[in-house]
Symmetry: none
Subunit: 249 residues, 2 copies
DNA sequence: TACAAAATTGCATAACTTTGCATAAAAGTT
DNA sequence: AACTTTTATGCAAAGTTATGCAATTTTGTA
């Protein structure tokens, strides 16, 4: 019996019963359980079923195609998004980089916003696609599936070609002495490129990011114009950031 | 007995039985198993059957075509995706451009595929994110929300930085005399850039695209190496494309 | 018709797949 | 926490397939 015929049998049985087990199939097809295990793995690798302990079940029809992951955003991020609105004026050109807070800002924009957004953040694409008057310029590069951003020399090079009215910087750690830091070296370089080509630097940091550091230095806090947090701007937690010439919001 | 007669015999038997084996055919046709093996390989190279260990099965019977996949893509596109699989080998670097057929190919890849995909097609990002061993390189540019692709001078410039083993070209009209054409000028330029930097040009065109044209010329059909359609490769509708040196599948 | 070039064929062999078993690692159960 | 069951991995045997080769057949050309 051909391997493909076994595949066929497995898939048909699965259609009928919604689940199959290794031992049942091994018996029916007169091969060892190992072989069935390998068959089911092959079908799994090709996206035709879901593996479970002891066998397989039909695929959960859960097309992971267009994830608008922005839906499950925390309250803190919504708060930051709301505060960010005051800095966004129609007609502006804006840099946005990685992080879910940036996505929250994009998602909260008025539908008729007229903007040009320049970004390496791929998670922004489905969000910004909803806006008819937002021109999106994608900075290319090697895509990182964890951060959902592009990075590399090309990304930096491209970012340097634009001058933006403001830059919303997400995904970074903030420390009153050690400044702005980031998890990846590449991200840090992109941030620096955006900083040097933006007229106003707006850093987004929820309370968990305050007084923390990451390995890669982006810039001094002195270079930052505005710091938006999810705290009230008179909160004690922000005291160490006052007197740095940053506008705290 | 002529080779063509053997081909006919194989195809007819396949239609009747859905599967054929080397030893069975070798007996029936009084030639060695090697010859049958070569015959079946020739038919496979033309997309007329699926090769399996021990013989061949019809394309429709290939379990990989059982598309209960999350994809709500048309049957034709699935058929093209299945035929495209024979050109994709692990370790390759591949250009892909816009169009839903290209997305169908990406969605049908085995989960453990090891590839580098270079694209301006943003719709590919969520699809390719599911593959741990596919490196995605995004070509930046101005994002077009209708085609879901990036375009512009930057896009072309970046595409030129890479050499790919093959290029899957989607979203184009095909005409036996007027060649490959596209709806937008910008898309056409990107296609040309990819053509000049890819070792093998594979054009995807479902039957609705055949014998049609669009305003912007991409290239002659002579520059195309392979044309994958949703038709069987011996269909009359493809006759005008024969004798152009293209492999029809 | 005769000849050279090209294609086709069957064979030998090397490379690769598949399979079931043994064992180690991981995941559930009590 | 100890035990059982299940799954993954490595291995060797058997089987299958691709490849190069030489012999043969076919094709094209003079």
């Amino acid at each position: 019996m051909l391997k493909e015929e076994r595949f066929d049998h497995i898939i048909n049985l699965l259609k009928k019963e919604n689940k199959v087990s290794y031992d049942q199939l091994a018996g029916e097809l007169h091969v060892s359980e190992d072989t069935i295990r390998r068959d089911i793995d092959a079908l799994y690798q090709n996206g035709l079923l879901s593996k479970v302990r002891g066998g397989a079940i039909t695929l959960a029809k859960n097309p992971l195609s267009f994830q608008d992951r922005s839906s499950h955003l925390s309250e803190g991020k919504e708060a930051i998004a709301l505060k960010a609105r005051q800095f966004i004026k129609n007609g502006q050109t804006i840099f946005m980089d990685g992080g879910t807070t940036v996505c929250a800002i994009a998602a909260s924009l008025p539908l008729d916003s007229n903007l040009r957004v320049i970004t390496n953040n791929m998670a922004l694409i489905p969000i910004l696609s909803n806006f008819n008057n937002i021109e999106v310029i994608v900075l290319g590069g090697k895509y990182n599936r964890d951060t959902q951003t592009n990075s590399g020399l090309r990304t930096i090079d491209e970012a340097r070609e634009y001058i933006a009215d403001c830059y919303f910087m997400g995904a970074c750690a903030l420390h009153h002495e050690l400044g702005v830091t980031s998890v990846f070296n590449e991200e840090a370089s992109i941030k620096r490129a955006m900083i040097s080509n933006a007229k106003k630097i707006i850093v987004l940091g929820n309370v968990e990011k305050l007084s923390t550091t990451e390995p890669f230095r982006v810039c001094d806090l002195a270079q930052v114009n505005v710091l938006i947090t999810d705290l009230p701007s008179d909160s004690d937690l922000l005291d160490s950031y006052r007197s740095l010439g940053i506008r705290l919001i």
